[in-house]
Amino acid sequence: MSERTADVIIIGGGVIGASIAYYLTKLGVKPVLLERGDICAGTSGACDKAISMQSKNPGLHLDLALESSAMFPGLGEELGADLDYHRYGGMIAIENERQMAIMEKFVERQKNHGLPVEILSGDEARKRQPAFAPSVIAATYSPADAEVSPLKLTFAFARAARRGGADIRTGAEVRGLLTNAGRVEGVVTQAGEVRAGVVVNAAGVFAPAVGRMAGLELPIKPRRGQIIVTEPMPPMVHGEIWSARYIVAKYNPEMIRSEDPEAADLGVGLAAGQTAEGTLLIGGTREFVGYDTAVTPEATAAVLRHAVSILPFLAKVHVIRTFAGLRPYTPDGMPILGPVDGLEGFVMAAGHEGDGIALAPITGKMLAAYIAGAETDKRLRDLALSRFQQAK
């Protein structure tokens, strides 16, 4: 059995693990990244492309997102890759007065937190987004929303990390954790032990399995999101589009029930955007179905029914594929980041649900700085696992 020693082990080759690996190499630390399958083979490769500011809850969540957003414009050049990054802005379509009341309050709180966002009348909204249905009574607009290819971003982080000296190993499955007297000492893989004083759990929806190796119960659950892909077409959708129902589904799905009970069960809300290739990505659902990544005709229909009500031109468009990804849900919608009480050297970096792409740069930077000992961001205290353990 091979045995080797590293400074830092990162478990998980999704966008979060790859980002941490990259930012560590920038600080002169050369981590070993262990990925059971392939880079970008899980959640990061089965999501949409939005870097959404408008969907973030005003407070720490939005603050982190804005900071992360500010890191994106120069990132492609820094990583030496085209990331299909654009800041075209985003809009949230409002369909009735009840949603309007909710969105007015939400937008007011976002403005107070420094997000540039406004509510446009239906006609103003259709000037900016001609594809909106006449039934859209108003829409928010924020120039801060952007988009990026999650695939290109994840591979670019991993390749740049490798160039910087990180040892990125795919097909390397972690089967156990080595601990001694409340300290982590490494991991056991199918190919032997790897020893390190720091082990980062960036395993996303599989983070709870890694946590159990350390005797930790992590409140992360897989939440399925189904997405529909259309044929390519000339530009029809400008920037990112969400429905107010998407925001409601994210924070309070029960409120949708009176409008559409099936949509409430599936957590349906519209999130749509057009890729560089011209295809539309139309999401999505929020479903607790364990680790099942199947697509279902019920969800396809529920998502498309809602999508057509906001973007009527879609009725004549061809669907070429459907897919599903599992998002790492946490009870408060915030990721679990940083050190864990009682197990020195074990670092959490998981639970971003649908915000992993948007928050990847800031997560990588904050955690790399913490691990390299450069600085401990005070916010890591609020994002620690201990926030869920205090109630016990």
């Binding site: 392939d38 083979a41 290739e277 697509v295 396809t300 229909a301 029914r305 057509v308 468009v317």
Partner: protein, 99 residues
């Protein structure tokens, strides 16, 4: 310039070999790195060619190389056809148009 393997997304043989050199050992791995198989035909033509290239580059047995997952719809179908009740004429029309 090397020939196109994925015609829909215009991905060349060189790009696919580079993806394999980058660590792709499955069709999905090549797909996520290059965009091959992501176009209109969803890999109907190039999936087998990519399996052949992975086998040639890595020495794996072609029969054991994981191909990309097949997801609905089987071929392009309009949104309105998907939303119409089963057997409805709009659904049939959608399928006719695709022939």
């Amino acid at each position: 310039m090397s020939k196109h393997i994925c015609r829909c997304e215009e991905v060349s043989e060189d790009e696919i070999r580079q993806a394999i050199a980058d660590g792709a050992t499955t069709v999905t791995g090549v797909k996520r790195r290059t965009g091959a198989c992501m176009g209109l035909c969803q890999g109907r033509t190039c999936r087998r060619l990519i399996v052949g290239l992975i086998a040639a580059e890595t020495g794996q047995n072609p029969a054991e190389i994981e191909t990309s997952s097949v997801r609905p719809p089987v071929r392009p179908v309009t949104v309105e056809a998907l939303l119409s009740p089963a057997g409805d004429t709009a659904g049939c029309k959608g399928r006719e148009e695709d022939k």
